[in-house]
């Protein structure tokens, strides 16, 4: 096990104390501690993260990054990888609030047009009765729903929504809706898998926003393609890359990619943008963070 020094500890404690940090803030801390910027010393930065994760993994924690699907911003955080009895202590929310949160996440994940967000009104109209609740262990709650769930008022929902946004489990999207917060993106990947949310085969992030239809054959692409960039052959050789959001896989820019963001209309050259020939595909196994292998 590598030996961590006070600089590693400062990075970990900064994230644990202050919560998820934007990339520029996390990089600023790294630069302040080491005197080197991650941009110019990518190898050193990766090595720091790798060594931190080798220690954290023994306690089922991970220093991870994710990209906000609404504004594209990268954030770093220390996340918990296992839902055990100890981690249940890690919340200050009530059972009702957690059920409400689950309802919101499901509504966002199962939205048929995959906007990745729902309106405030939709969130407030979520009924806790529709949630499957669990008691101790994995047993399901049987019998009539307790009154506390039926009586979770609109006012309580509003207050709870504000708390979720403040605590970064949810966010207000640029168009004024309720979306997934950075903590959800960092922490809840396992839960998204259970909801059959597709994962991008390129960046291995849960795709809650955006679903592409092949304009030629109408075949649903289950994974959202990233913006076109040049694929970097060196990425695969770098083990530490899984500690960061996968560098956006790069491929030659094609005209069709510009239409992806508009829900793909058009045809003709669209075939060339099908993820096969024009760029190298990163398989899920190579892009998966080390802790999940």
């Amino acid at each position: 096990m590598p030996s961590l020094n006070w600089k590693h500890h400062a990075l970990v404690q900064a994230l644990m104390t202050r919560g998820p940090l934007k990339e520029k803030d996390f990089h600023a801390i790294f630069s302040g501690l080491t005197g080197k910027s991650p941009g110019a010393h990518q190898g050193l930065f990766n090595e720091y993260l790798l060594n931190i994760n080798k220690e954290l993994s023994s306690c089922q924690f991970e220093l991870r990054a994710c990209r906000d699907q609404y504004v594209g911003q990268v954030c770093y955080g220390v996340v918990n990888n296992v839902a055990d009895e100890q981690s249940k202590l890690g919340t200050k929310y009530t059972v009702q609030q957690i059920a409400f949160f689950k309802g919101i996440l499901e509504a966002i994940a199962q939205d048929v047009i995959a906007q990745g967000s729902i309106s405030n009104i939709e969130a407030l109209n979520i009924r806790l009765e529709n949630q499957v609740l669990s008691t101790q262990g994995s047993q399901l709650l049987n019998g009539p729903l307790p009154a506390a769930f039926r009586n979770f008022t609109m006012s309580q929902k509003e207050k709870t929504l504000d708390e979720f946004v403040q605590d970064q489990w949810l966010c207000c999207t640029p168009d004024g809706k309720i979306g997934l917060g950075v903590r959800s993106c960092l922490d809840l990947r396992g839960w998204f898998r259970n909801l059959d949310v597709p994962f991008c085969e390129v960046c291995n992030e849960a795709v809650v926003k955006g679903e592409i239809l092949c304009p030629r054959c109408g075949l649903k692409w289950q994974n959202q393609l990233p913006k076109a960039e040049i694929l970097d052959e060196e990425e695969e050789a770098n083990d530490a890359i899984q500690s960061q959001p996968a560098q956006r896989p790069k491929r030659k820019r094609t005209k069709t990619n510009e239409t992806h963001e508009k829900d793909a209309v058009g045809c003709g050259s669209s075939q060339s943008s099908v993820p096969n020939s024009d760029f190298r595909r990163i398989t899920r196994s190579s892009s998966r963070p080390a802790s999940q292998r």
Binding site: H9, M16, C59, Q60, L89, G90, T91, K92
Partner: protein
């Protein structure tokens, strides 16, 4: 993973099981500290994590020590052991230097980072007001000799803009609850003393404020403040 300095060979348990136990204790300490806003965790709670499945007598101590090492090596936290004090009125007859008999052990997490590094990179500015409040209250009680009647404490706090009756203070919310939090965090403890005029509630320093590093730093900061040119004020003066 099992502490490098801990010898688990005396126990008939696999390394994997030891590692799992140590991880459980580490996770419990981290999550519980977050949940209860830094209130000390009783040693008994950590012991039970081990004894619920294992009956070897010395195993809990070894696991807790290994968890201490893990918290230090991986996270840079010291799992600091505190001895719970009893209120001084419960220990009458003892030296006034002592604040009470040690009862139970408890633990708090303390960052091992240098102070200037912690302040620059780790400290959450959203909670700076709580640290300031803690320091001010402990300082007042310390300057009063380690113990102060409740009404005198509030008199001093009122001079700084915080009233006992404030239920919606813009920074601290409910003022009484803010003070009560210091009791829950074991910076203070309450003591009811019978007197000629009935019961008087006192606040006195508890083990967290009396702990060596905290106590020394506090005295240092107080010295820094009072060494400046200030006009002394009689504490019995009314506002």
């Amino acid at each position: 993973m099992a502490g490098a300095t801990q010898d688990f060979s005396q126990f008939d348990i696999s390394k994997e099981e030891i590692d799992k136990l140590v991880a459980e204790v580490v996770r419990y300490v981290l999550f519980k500290t977050h949940q209860n806003s830094g209130c000390p965790i009783k040693r008994e709670e950590l012991v039970q994590l081990v004894t619920k499945n294992y009956s070897q007598r010395a195993l809990p101590a070894h696991v807790i020590n290994a968890a201490k090492e893990k918290l230090s090596n991986a996270f840079g936290y010291e799992l600091r052991e505190l001895l719970r004090c009893r209120p001084s009125s419960a220990t009458q007859g003892r030296s006034t230097q002592q604040t009470g008999v040690a009862e139970a052990k408890s633990y708090v997490l303390i960052s091992q980072l240098p102070a200037e590094v912690y302040k620059k990179y780790v400290e959450d500015e959203n909670s700076a007001h709580l640290s300031g409040f803690t320091f001010v209250v402990i300082s007042i009680v310390h300057l009063a000799g380690g113990k102060i009647p409740e009404d005198i404490l509030w008199r001093h706090l009122k001079r700084m803009g915080l009233c006992e009756t404030d239920a919606s203070h813009p920074v601290f919310g409910n003022a009484k609850q803010a003070l009560e939090t210091l009791v829950q965090q074991r910076y203070l403890q309450k003591d009811k003393v019978n007197g000629p005029e009935g019961n008087t509630l006192f606040y006195e320093l508890a083990e967290r404020a009396l702990d060596g590093p905290v106590s020394e730093k506090m005295k240092e900061y107080i010295s820094e403040i009072v060494s400046k040119d200030v006009v002394p004020v009689d504490v019995d003066e009314a506002e």
